[in-house]
């Protein structure tokens, strides 16, 4: 039990996929202007990770390893993730149209979100079993969402603050992202 708790803490805080491993920077900066959108994006990424990780795990253990095709890992995983994103896009368009329109261009961009691919590859590197892989991908997605929501909350505040003109928008966002990343380094000694 403690092991799972530590895995959660590790994935969300210590080895946060965005702030410590620097994966998924594009949606991190692109979808963090409003809290609502960042929660939606985080949810969509968690959803894609939760489906992509077990499928890629199965492909790895049932196809790639038995057939000795380890070198096809990246291309196979990208194919699976791209198809899943298409699926999620169709699902959101049908079920939650407001979220679909607010995510806009960033939804198809999950296809190339390296955080999703990163998790699929990391679970293979760490040799997790299927259950742990799914759990780990959920925890990583949660960490992704946390980073997005935190940055969005700060940027919403920044919108109404007095900033030098040259710092408004993306420059301020990048500086805050850097400071957040440094503050998350403090978690490094936790586990």
């Amino acid at each position: 039990m403690l092991e799972y708790f530590l895995l959660l803490i590790s994935a969300v805080f210590v080895n946060n996929v965005v702030l410590a491993q620097y994966l998924g920077q594009c949606p991190y900066l692109g979808c963090s202007k409003e809290k609502g959108v960042s929660i939606g994006m985080g949810g969509a990424v968690i959803f894609v990770m939760l489906i992509a990780t077990p499928i890629t795990w199965l492909i790895q253990s049932l196809v790639l390893i038995p057939l000795d095709l380890g070198y096809l890992q990246t291309i196979m995983f990208i194919l699976v993730i791209a198809s899943l994103v298409q699926l999620v896009e169709m699902f959101l368009k049908k079920a939650i149209p407001p979220l679909y329109s607010s995510l806009g261009i960033f939804l198809p961009l999950i296809t190339t979100n390296c955080a999703v691919l990163g998790v699929a590859i990391l679970v293979q590197r760490n040799s997790y079993d299927l259950g742990t892989s799914v759990y780990y991908s959920f925890a990583t997605g949660l960490g992704f969402m946390l980073a997005l929501v935190l940055l969005a909350s700060i940027r919403e505040r920044m919108e109404i603050s007095r900033l030098p003109l040259s710092m408004k928008g993306v420059p301020a966002g990048l500086v805050i992202a850097g400071i957040m990343s440094m503050s998350f380094m403090a978690f490094a000694g936790m586990i």
Binding site: I59, L67, Y71, L72, S83, L87, K94
Partner: protein, 296 residues
């Protein structure tokens, strides 16, 4: 080698089957009129209509009864008519507009504050004491507006931006990027316009610009339509009021302006010029030629 190709093909095939099934299950029925309107729009995605792009406008014009069919400035009247027909709304949109530069820097010397050497951008130069010109309301001439114009309607000549009236579609992209706020949208059929955008007082203007508006207010007093005012210290013509009053005033403001800052717009577009010439040619035989007024 064969195994890898086959396994990739198999995975691709499975993904294709799953997606095609999903596309049926999650099929969302869309109003076919939205697609038709999208098709009719020019696809410039300039944002001049106030929506994110052509598709967003197409959806809004069909779904929202308050969205007019004539908002596409890039498409002009033909597209407005087509969109009106498809959406069942009146095609008449807002008055066709055009971007207008309010600076006469080329007609009188403007004093320099310093020699600017830096990024070739109006926004960057404006951050250093409002730019190198001593006038805070001059055209900086680095062409930030030219860069954002998707229709090649703007160019720089003698450090001053020029607008090609035939290419300008009034998307308004240039207005937002000008750090000195000297670009504004005016109706294409505007009769008179203020050619300077200064807010400074007479003495300050005289010190920095030979040609600028000295805010003497004579035009405000002479305008019988009360269309001219200076709400924020800048002479402004309410074009709607001016156009509604019509030519009865005989452009009293233009006559009154001692610095020739208020000028007749004549016909701003060569297309409009051609139309007017054709109309004049058609009307000429019916009218008696105007006699020149005797002068003292």
């Amino acid at each position: 080698m064969l195994t890898s190709v086959l396994s990739l093909l198999a995975l691709g095939f499975i993904a294709a089957v799953v997606l095609s099934v999903a596309s049926r299950v999650f099929y969302v029925e869309e109003d076919p009129r939205v697609a038709a309107v999208s098709e009719a729009l020019p696809g410039a995605n300039c944002g001049g209509c106030g929506f994110a792009g052509c598709d967003a406008y197409a959806a809004a014009v069909i779904q929202d009864p308050s969205v007019s069919a004539g908002l596409c400035c890039a498409g002009g009247p033909d597209v407005a008519a087509k969109v009106g027909e498809l959406s069942g709304k009146a095609a008449g949109g807002a008055d066709p507009q055009i971007s207008f530069r309010r600076c006469v820097k080329d007609q009188g010397k403007v004093a320099k504050k310093y020699d600017y050497q830096g990024l070739s951008s109006c926004a960057a130069s404006a951050q250093l004491e409002d730019g190198p010109d001593a006038c805070r309301f001059s055209c900086l001439g680095f062409g930030d507006c030219v860069k954002v114009c998707n229709f090649n309607a703007m160019y720089i000549e003698n450090d001053l931006v020029r607008i090609d009236p035939d290419k300008c579609v009034a998307c308004g992209a240039c207005v937002g990027v000008c750090p000195n706020h000297i670009l504004e949208m005016i109706p294409r059929r505007a009769r008179v316009q203020v050619f300077c955008s200064t807010k400074d007082k007479m003495k300050d203007v005289m010190n920095v610009c030979e040609a600028g508006c000295i805010n003497c207010g004579k035009c405000i007093k002479k305008c019988p339509a009360t269309a001219i005012s200076n709400p924020d210290g800048r002479i402004q013509i309410d074009q709607a009021v001016c156009l509604a009053y019509g030519p009865d005033c005989e452009e009293a403001c233009v006559e009154a302006c001692p610095r020739n800052i208020l000028r007749l717009m004549c016909s701003v577009s060569s297309a409009a010029k051609a139309r007017e010439a054709a109309a004049a040619a058609a009307a000429a035989p019916a009218q008696a030629p105007e006699q020149p007024q005797p002068t003292a």
